[in-house]
């Protein structure tokens, strides 16, 4: 399979970037997209050129590292997959493929296709945790009864891998799906409800501070999310935030 790749190259956060054309040959349909990128980088190294920087780690769809905007879609044309799970059989021989980094003011480009997603870390730091006394007498979580439906919903929300595809694909670069999943995975459980009001206010405020856009309910984030995080979480966070704010909770 021969491909023409149009890839964003940018030397550093403050450098000006541009789309650069690359031709690759010998690509097999069973290769993953990242393996195709590896082959391209090998060719560039052999030529003495700078390889293309991109994030990757587990290559199993778990870590959320691989962050490429491929042919106008986050993680490419597949559904419920990350870039590492995308296979080259999804493309045609001779096709032109656009490869860009996540685009958002809150996700500045570090180099080429790598972006700084520490804005997500700061949202988590603002409240995405449960305060637990770890002095040795912590209650066993299994001793707290939790309705099956709530446990399932919390677990579904917890499958968010924080890849940032929701931000990348949203026309407004909104982080509502990520933030709402991280709020819901705790607020649905008894252990998380104690700090529920502070959590939702603090995390939403941090999300706004980071410069993400507003949610206009297009639903694109849910479609492109590799873990299928539901829009229900956004509605739940809206309810929790409005309720907590109306009650004047700090």
């Amino acid at each position: 399979m021969k491909l023409l790749l149009k890839i964003w190259r940018q030397d550093g956060p403050k450098e000006k970037g541009q789309m650069v054309d690359y031709n690759v040959d010998g690509i097999e349909g069973d290769m993953s997209f990242l393996e195709m990128m590896d082959i391209l980088n090998s060719q560039l190294i052999e030529k003495g050129e700078e390889p293309i920087n991109f994030d990757h780690d587990c290559r199993e769809g778990i870590c959320g590292s691989c962050s490429m905007f491929i042919n106008g879609e986050a993680h490419g044309p597949g559904r419920n997959v990350t870039t590492c799970q995308l296979h080259m059989r999804s493309f045609k021989d001779g096709e032109t493929i656009f490869i860009e980094p996540w685009r958002a003011k809150a996700f500045p480009v570090i180099k080429d296709l790598m972006v700084d997603r520490s804005a997500f870390d700061r949202i988590i730091q603002a409240g995405g945790y449960v305060s637990v006394n770890t002095s040795g007498n912590t209650q066993d979580a299994n001793s707290i009864p939790i309705p099956k439906e709530d446990a399932d919903l919390a677990f579904d929300a917890a499958t968010c891998i924080g890849c940032g595809a929701c931000v990348a694909t949203c026309k407004n670069a909104s982080a509502m799906l990520f933030t709402s999943a991280k709020v819901a995975q705790l607020s649905l459980l008894p252990q998380g409800q104690v700090e529920g009001k502070e959590r939702v206010i603090n995390m939403v405020n941090q999300m706004d501070l980071e410069g993400f856009g507003n949610c206009t309910n297009t639903g694109a984030c849910e479609v492109e999310c590799p873990k299928g995080i539901s829009l229900d979480n956004i509605a739940r966070m809206n309810r929790e935030f409005l309720s907590a704010t109306a009650k004047g909770k700090k």
């Binding site: 149009k6 964003w8 970037g17 789309m19 905007f69 042919n71 106008g72 879609e73 044309p77 656009f98 860009e100 685009r103 958002a104 003011k105 809150a106 480009v109 603002a126 694909t169 026309k171 407004n172 670069a173 909104s174 206010i201 603090n202 939403v204 405020n205 941090q206 999300m207 706004d208 410069g211 993400f212 856009g213 507003n214 949610c215 206009t216 309910n217 297009t218 639903g219 694109a220 479609v223 492109e224 829009l231 229900d232 956004i234 509605a235 739940r236 966070m237 809206n238 309810r239 929790e240 935030f241 409005l242 907590a244 704010t245 109306a246 004047g248 909770k249 700090k250």
Partner: protein, 232 residues
């Protein structure tokens, strides 16, 4: 971190936007229903229009609330759009928005601007004339004693506006199509922004939203076309 105040957060601004949207949705249904009377019964249309145009509660309470609601919806809409636009400083070379979201949901600002431009035309056609007639020329006496002297003019004014004016009818129809597109996403989106979403009620809200976004603009289109066609 303390709460920043109700309208300073993104979620609260969207909530306020949703509230104003639902208020305008109720107004639109009322407006279309009254306008439809001009097709069904000119006399009843005149009576109802006279009531709406002269009743102090409508004129001095509901009308200012409506004007505030319209202005609020547009101003907050533009503020949100500006924030959204600046949240992605470098745009994608290739962005396939149609792969995961409807045109209506991605282009609320376009349909909204068309509706705003239409409101300019609509105000020029009817509202400015009405305000001039009542408050500047003082031809209706309701200001003095609550009675209307020339209330039964509404039907003739409406007919006159569309008599032989094909471009105006087309402008109205095109605007109502954009209104339908705006409502198609806006109705459901308003509920989501308020956190109203459940497995039981969301499918019903979606169906009502689709029906509303088709039927109400279609009603307006029918009224404009009727008054043009019946005067050919």
């Amino acid at each position: 971190m303390a709460s920043k105040g109700l309208l300073s957060s993104s979620i609260a601004r969207k909530f306020a936007m949703a509230l104003s949207a639902l208020f305008l949705i109720v107004f639109l249904l009322q407006h279309m229903s009254i306008n439809m009377l001009s097709v069904l019964s000119p006399d009843v249309f005149n009576e109802v229009s006279d009531f709406m145009g002269t009743n102090p509660l409508v004129q001095f309470v509901l009308q200012p609330v409506l004007i505030f609601g319209v202005c609020f919806h547009f101003i907050v809409g533009f503020i949100l759009e500006y924030k959204n636009w600046t949240s992605r400083e470098v745009k994608y070379a290739k962005y396939k928005g149609s792969a995961n979201a409807s045109w209506m949901s991605r282009n609320m600002i376009i349909s909204g601007v068309v509706i705003l431009l239409f409101l300019g035309l609509h105000f020029y056609d009817f509202w400015i004339h009405e305000i001039t007639h009542k408050f500047i020329e003082g031809k209706d006496s309701f200001i003095v004693n609550g009675e209307s002297e020339s209330g039964f003019r509404f039907y003739e004014e409406l007919r006159h506006k569309f008599a032989g004016d094909f471009p105006r009818m087309i402008l109205y129809i095109v605007s109502f199509i954009f209104l339908a597109l705006h409502l198609n996403h806006g109705f459901e989106s308003a509920w989501q922004s308020m956190g109203a979403r459940s497995k039981k009620y969301t499918p019903i809200i979606k169906k009502i939203g689709v029906a509303y976004s088709v039927l109400v603009p279609l009603g307006f289109i029918f009224i404009a076309a009727y008054h043009y066609v019946t005067q050919l």
